[in-house]
């Protein structure tokens, strides 16, 4: 009789303990701050914007219809003949030493369906060419397929194991490297991905790495989530 009590307790411990232990030991879906905070936060060196000069605003806040006094700065003048802008040299290689990832980069744009275009080859990673070059102001976006039915796992598959502080290196067209440090990793459902933050063209320089993750939905042949990693420039 005593033995059956022990067996019952043991059975319950097993039944409750197994799922809890499994849940506690699996890797975290997120690391560091949230993606949006990481992108929008000013760099330590950033100077706060000085307050806009306000020359005696009218009480109503409306602009008086009178002829405004002009306080004219020198006017920049340029030739207006059409010029073809020199193309920006694209970055060529991405590497995450801690994850053993090295992948060539392709300049990509927008697919006909409006999503970011990605290289077909899962061993290559796309650089969003309408956004900044890594290192320029704004958020430079690099993204790649996490896997493919024929090609297997992609170069960015280990992205979900990055930790805060991991180093990311991007090699530019001239061979010059920019070095970055991961500040955020987040698993975000695709429907609520903060696209305007991720593709922000202004603000401090950020590197954003994206692939797919979370549960796979076979009916849609797609993952539910995006893995998003944000890195800040290393001095």
């Amino acid at each position: 009789m005593r033995s059956s009590v022990v067996a019952m307790v043991l059975g319950l411990v097993l039944a409750i303990g197994t799922p809890i232990t499994w849940a506690l030991t699996r890797p975290d879906a997120t690391a560091g701050t949230t993606v949006e905070q990481a992108i929008d936060a000013p760099s330590p060196s950033a100077v706060p914007p000085s307050p806009a000069p306000s020359a005696a605003p009218s009480p109503s806040g409306a602009v008086p219809p009178t002829v405004p006094a002009l306080d004219l700065p020198p006017v920049p003048i340029r030739d207006a003949a059409p010029t073809v802008a020199a193309p920006v040299p694209p970055p060529v290689r991405l590497s995450l030493p801690a994850q053993g990832v090295t992948a060539p980069l392709d300049a990509v744009g927008v697919s006909p369906d409006g999503q970011m275009e990605l290289p077909e080859d899962v061993d290559r990673v796309g650089w969003y060419r309408f956004g900044p070059v890594p290192g320029d102001d704004g958020s430079a976006v690099l993204a790649g397929h996490v896997d493919d039915r024929e090609q297997g796992l992609g170069a960015l598959a280990p992205l979900r194991t990055t930790e805060v502080g991991d180093v990311v290196v991007v090699t530019g067209a001239t061979g010059a490297e920019t070095r970055w440090q991961v500040v955020s990793r987040e698993l975000i459902t695709k429907q609520v991905l903060p696209l305007d933050s991720i593709f922000n063209r202004e603000g401090p320089p950020r590197l954003v790495l994206i692939t797919c993750g979370g549960p796979f939905i076979p009916e849609l042949r797609s993952y539910r989530d995006n893995v998003v990693v944000v890195a800040e420039p290393l001095p």
Partner: protein, 272 residues
């Protein structure tokens, strides 16, 4: 393809035509406007005065001044031949009470009418957002010439444009070979010239000049609201998926539950 209706306006030395801009894009700064000035009257260097003060000196044809940040309000614009004394010189062209609403992005163009008379025309630059990967191409006819068609890569994208009207289309960003032809014909009037349509921007092309001085293109690029792509795809095989609990662990859990139930039942029956 979206088309914007032009703001037609007659400039007169005496007329006080209050110009209300059709659209006032909401910008962060509620008190200032962004203004550029294009000089598109051939062979005539000028000085431009705003409210009696010299704004641009020795302004050469085919050049663009600005962008200037000016307080919103009404401006009297006067253009004199370059170097002339405004006290005594004859006014080349002027436009009074040009209303520049705060928050607007505008370009004032000094140009010739279809008949060849000097005129000042203010245009509002459309800075509304374009889809990711695309750019807005705006063409403004400010040349002393009849109606024209605009072609990109040999295909007509804007037809029947007359002075001083404008028309806009949204096209994939990139370089296009553009030319201007006499409306309804293949007679090339200007070009072809390579024009870069910037992504997330409004690339404005001006057809200007006269039959005597020749016709040319001028360009201006104004930032429009850039858009983000609608998403990021990223995998089709499920190899990297977060799985549920692995089968052996599920088995262990079930075994524990079964064991507990069996032992509990045995305990209950043994007490009877």
């Amino acid at each position: 393809m979206n088309k914007t209706r032009p703001i037609a306006l007659t400039a007169g030395a005496t007329g006080a035509f209050a110009l209300l801009f059709a659209a006032t894009p909401a910008l962060a700064d509620s008190h200032t406007a962004t203004v550029s000035v294009l000089h598109a009257i051939p062979e005539t260097p000028v000085d431009v005065y705003a409210n009696g003060e010299e704004l641009i000196a020795d302004f050469m044809p085919g050049t663009l001044a600005g962008p200037l940040t000016l307080p919103g309000g009404e401006y009297d614009l006067t253009v004199y031949p370059a170097g002339a004394d405004p006290e005594t010189a004859e006014v080349a062209v002027s436009l009074d009470d040009v209303e520049i609403p705060a928050g607007a992005d505008a370009t004032v163009v000094a140009h010739l009418t279809e008949a060849g008379a000097p005129e000042l025309t203010p245009f509002v630059n459309d800075t509304s957002a374009v889809p990711a990967g695309e750019g807005r191409l705006t063409v403004r006819h400010v040349a002393a010439a009849p109606a024209v068609d605009v072609r990109a890569g040999g295909e007509v994208i804007i037809d029947g444009l007359v002075n001083p009207n404008e028309e806009s289309v949204t096209v994939p960003a990139g370089s296009v070979s553009a030319d201007v032809v006499v409306a309804g014909t293949d007679t090339v009037a200007i070009g072809p010239a390579d024009v870069t349509v910037a992504e997330g921007a409004n690339t404005i092309v001006y057809a200007w000049g006269s039959a005597d001085a020749g016709y040319e293109l001028a360009t201006q690029t104004v930032q429009a609201g850039a858009s983000a792509p609608t998403g990021v795809p990223g995998g089709s095989a499920g190899l990297a998926a977060d799985e549920g609990m692995p089968a052996p662990l599920v088995g262990l859990t079930v075994a524990g539950l079964a064991g507990a139930a069996f032992a509990g039942r045995k305990y209950a029956t043994s007490r009877v």
